[in-house]
């Protein structure tokens, strides 16, 4: 079985639920694009006008930023800074930590506003927290679930060698 401490698993059902939440948030906040990133820099889901931006770079830099900001917070005796906002000439970026586990990034321009984004993010965050709590609960209960076995249990040396050929 996959170790729940070291592996984060996202199944189709949860992926769909997550996608629905950020799709709704995109509409409700009038944002350009939205990304959900895990704290280690891996993209979980995205929506909106995502073709313009290199998503992998965005994920890694966002996670680095959150890690660095978290370090700063601890230095001054705070637990974390849950929200960051960066204002550009045209586009703005709103970054928030959801359920202390994942990072929600909203990119928006003058068609929206910081107030609206804040408001809608707050609501979406609650829903997302519930979903991620469910995921955690599922991971903890995973041992007894057939059909969800480790897909890599059968991996062979040849499989791995083939990756480099």
């Amino acid at each position: 079985m996959l170790n729940t401490q070291t592996t984060f698993v996202l199944y189709d059902e949860e992926a769909e639920k997550v996608k629905e939440v950020i799709d709704n948030l995109l509409k409700a906040s009038n944002a350009k694009s939205i990304y959900l990133i895990d704290k280690n820099g891996q993209m979980i889901a995205s929506t909106g006008n995502v073709a313009e931006i290199d998503a992998t770079s965005l994920a890694s830099l966002t996670a680095g930023n959150i890690a660095a900001t978290g370090g700063l917070a601890k230095l001054i005796g705070e637990k974390e800074f849950a929200i960051q906002f960066h204002e550009g000439e045209k586009d703005n970026i709103h970054i928030s930590i959801v359920g202390s586990r994942v990072i929600l990034v909203v990119i928006f321009d003058q068609r929206s506003s910081l107030g609206l984004v804040r408001l809608r993010v707050k609501k979406a965050s609650n829903t997302l927290t519930t979903i991620f709590d469910e995921i955690s609960a599922k991971e903890n209960a995973q041992d007894g679930m057939p059909g969800r076995a480790n897909p890599f249990a059968e991996i062979t040396d040849d499989d791995i060698d083939n990756l480099f050929s």
Binding site: V9, N40, G41, Q42, I44, A68, N150, I155
Partner: protein, 196 residues
């Protein structure tokens, strides 16, 4: 912490290149970047100072192909080597799945290697990891230089537990992919076991 995404059928793993300042970590990533086909690599990001020393990290996403119907993605990071960047190094180690320790084989860098390896162990311990239980390989870099320590000595001080080790010259690329392949293999084998 690897991330298995059933929805997109992807598996993501994080590999960190660690070692003393100027041992050749960034050079490893640059060589991998140069030699990887466009469709298999993402943008390489270097958060560096004006003097091109790594300030926070270098980052290179690689897609290596499929295993058992899952796309494998490896995120390669380097840490800044200078002693005073310890806070940044700790951050980058978060969620690591595999470690490459790049040693500078030059005689006069032996102490720096030992210090950096100790620092790696301490920083991992702070997060509850034991270096020798993680997928871990060592690279003895700069083998092209004249003033290098004998391999036995490097081994004795840096590789007491005999993890996979590679001689390298990252500048010309010798040993770079052998090192990467070895750590990728250990990380995937670790997933197979699913125990850590």
């Amino acid at each position: 912490m690897s991330f298995i995404n059933y929805a997109s059928r992807e598996i993501n793993c994080k590999i960190v290149y660690y070692g003393p300042g100027l041992c050749g970590k960034t050079t490893n990533l640059q060589y991998i970047y140069q030699k990887t086909a466009n469709e298999s690599k993402g943008k390489m990001i270097s958060l560096a100072t004006e003097s091109e020393r790594t300030l926070f990290f270098d980052f290179l996403p690689l897609a290596l192909g499929e295993v058992r119907g899952f796309k494998t993605r490896f995120h390669l990071y380097t840490v800044p080597g200078q002693v005073f960047y310890d806070a940044s190094r700790k951050l980058i180690l978060k969620g690591v799945d595999g470690i490459v320790f790049v040693a500078d084989s030059q005689e006069e860098r032996m102490d720096a290697n030992i210090e950096s390896l100790e620092n790696l162990k301490e920083n991992l311990e702070e997060q509850g990891y034991d270096l020798y239980k993680l997928p871990f390989v060592i690279q003895y870099n700069k083998q092209d230089l004249p003033n290098i320590s004998p391999i036995e000595e490097l081994r004795r001080f840096l590789n007491p537990t005999k993890v996979p080790e590679f001689k390298a010259c990252a500048m010309s690329g010798v040993g770079v992919f052998e090192t990467l392949k070895a750590i990728a293999k250990l990380v995937l084998m670790d997933l197979k076991k699913g125990t850590r």
